[in-house]
Amino acid sequence: MPELMLHKSLYDAAVVHQVARLYEGVATIAVDEDPHAVTVRFDDVDPDVADVLVDHFGNHVLVETVKQANAAEQVLMGDSR
C-alpha cells in the first residue's frame, strides 16, 4: 500500500483533500493531516493503475497547488487596486 507524504509548506493541504476525492474510484484513499504534512495512503489499488497512481497523484497535487498559488496572487493584486 503506497503512501505519500506531502509537506504543507510545499503543497496546499486543501488541494490534497480535493484531489484525493477525485481518485477514490481507483483506490481506497486515506488522508491524514498533522501540523506539518498531509499523508495519503492508497489501498485496494486498481491493478491497471498501480504503477502510475502515486506518480499521477503527485503531479496532480502539484499542478493544483501552483494553480491556487497563482490565483491567490492575482486576487491580492486585485485587492490592492
Binding site: N59, V63, V66, K67, A69, N70, A71, Q74
Partner: protein, 532 residues
Amino acid sequence: MTRRGSIAVTHPRLDADKLGPFRFGRIDDKVLLTHDTGQWHLLSEPDFEALLAGTLGPDHPDHAALVDKGFIRDGMDADAIADRLRRKKRWLGMGPHLHVVITTLRCNQSCKYCHASRTDMDRVDTDMSIDTARLVVDHALRSPSPFIAFEFQGGEPTVNMDVIRFIVEYSRERNRNEGKTIEYSLVTNMTRMDEDKAEWLLANDVFLCTSLDGPRHVHDWNRPFAGGQGSAPFDEVMKWVQYFNRRYVEMGRDPELWHVDALMTTTRKTLEHWREVIDLYVSLGIRNLYLRPLNPFGFIMKTWKAVGYDQEDFLRFYEQALDYIIDLNRDGVQIIEGTAALFLKKMLTPDDPNFVDLRSPIGAGTGQIAYNYDGTIFPSDEGRMVDAMGDPIFALGRLGELTPDEAIGHPTVKALAVASLLDTLPMCSTCWNAPYCGVRPLHNYMMSGDLFGQRPNTPKCKQHMTIARLLFERLSRDTDGSLEAIFRRWTLERPRETPPPDLDADGDAGASPAASSPASGDAAPDSAAATE
C-alpha cells in the same frame, strides 16, 4: 546504484528596482523581452545581463527603445503604457460581436474529421425555423458591440437557405434603428450551391468561406459525400470558387478584398501533400491559408487512427509550410498563413485582431455567441459541439427565455473567462508569449474534463508557443528587414469598402485605417477556426 553530482549555477547580478515589468524567454542566442502592451525587444545575453544589473546606460543604442517600451524604469511613461494597453484590449467590455448561427444540422457530406454534429439530409427536424431566426437577430442586435458579424454554419448551412436570407434581410431592416456595422459570412462546402443562391449571396455582400483540404485526392478522401456517392466534392469547390471570384471581378470589386476564403483542416493525408495544397490555394487566388490542426471535438475521437498524427508531426509540417509561404511571398505571391498573421498583428501593430480564440480572456460568451438550430444559446460553437456529443454543460439557455445580459453574465461564461485569463494561469502568467497568446478552456475540458488543463500537457500551448517562436526566430534573423516588410503586409486588414492605404517605403502598415479597425479579423477565418 546512486551517483552524486552538482550543477554550477550563476545567479546574475540583479537591480530589479531599475526595471519595468516584463516577461522574457530565449530566441536563438538572444533574450526576448515582451511587455503587456505587446511590445518586445531582442537583446544579446551580455546586454540582458547589463539590463538586469542596471548598467545598461543611456549611451547604449537600445537604451531609448527599452525605456519607451517600459523595460527600464527610469524615464518610463506609465501613463502612455496604460494608453497602449487600453488600445490593445479595447474589445474588453464591448460584448459579443461574432454570432454563429447553425441554420441546420443537415449535411450531404460525411467528412472524416467532422465535429459539426451533422445529420442526414432527410432530418428536416434539425433545420432552424424562421421564428427562431427572428429571435437570433433580436438577441444579437442587443449586444453592446457596434460591430456584429453573423456567421452561418451547419451542417451545411445552405441546405436551409431560407433562414440565411431571412436573417440577412431582417437584421438589415432592424439595423436601420440600431446603426451598427453588420457583416455576414457563410461557411459552405459549395456542394449545394446554385446560380440563384450565388447571385443572391453576391448581391447581399455575404462573405464566402469554403472548406478546401487540398488537391482532389486529399479533399475527396477527407470529405466524401454521405452515402459514398460517386461524384467529386472537389470539382464543386473548384467550380464555385472560380465562379464567385470571376463574378467579383465582373462586379468591379477589388479581388484583393473580394474573393472566396478557404479553410483547410489538416489530416494525415495533408501532411504528406502539403506543398501541393499550398500550390493549389495559390493557383485559385486564395490569399489567406489557414493551417489548422484537427481538434478534439466530435467524431474525430473515433477516427483519429485513420486521420490523426502527432503534435510534433503537425508542428514540423507547419514550419515547412510557413517557410514555403514566406518564400512564395519573396517571389511576389500574395498569400498569408492565417494563424501567423494573427500573432503578427499582435506583435507588430498597436492593435489586436480580437480573434475570439486567441485572446485573454477568451471570447466565448463575451466576444462570441452560438445559436443552435433549435434556439439553444452557447458561448461558442465549440460549446455547441460538446453538447452534440451528449454533454449539455455549456448550454446557457434558450432564445426568448435568456436575455443577452443574462447570457453574458451566465456563470458558465464567467467560468470560461476565469479559466482563460493568462495572468492567473500557471506558466502563462510568466510566459514570454502571453501578450500574444490565448488558451482554450473547452479544448481542455474535452481532453481532461477540466477547464484549466495542465499547460505543459495542452497541445494548444505547444502550438502557440511554437508558432510565436518560429516568427520571432525569423524576425531575429532578418538582417535586411525584408521579412519584416512581408510580415507587416500580413497584418494589413483593410475594410472591404475603402481604397487601399498607401504603404510607406518600409511597407509600414502601422497607421493604416485597417490597423485600427475594431472589426478587423472578424470575418470568416476567425469563427471558422473556432468552430470547424
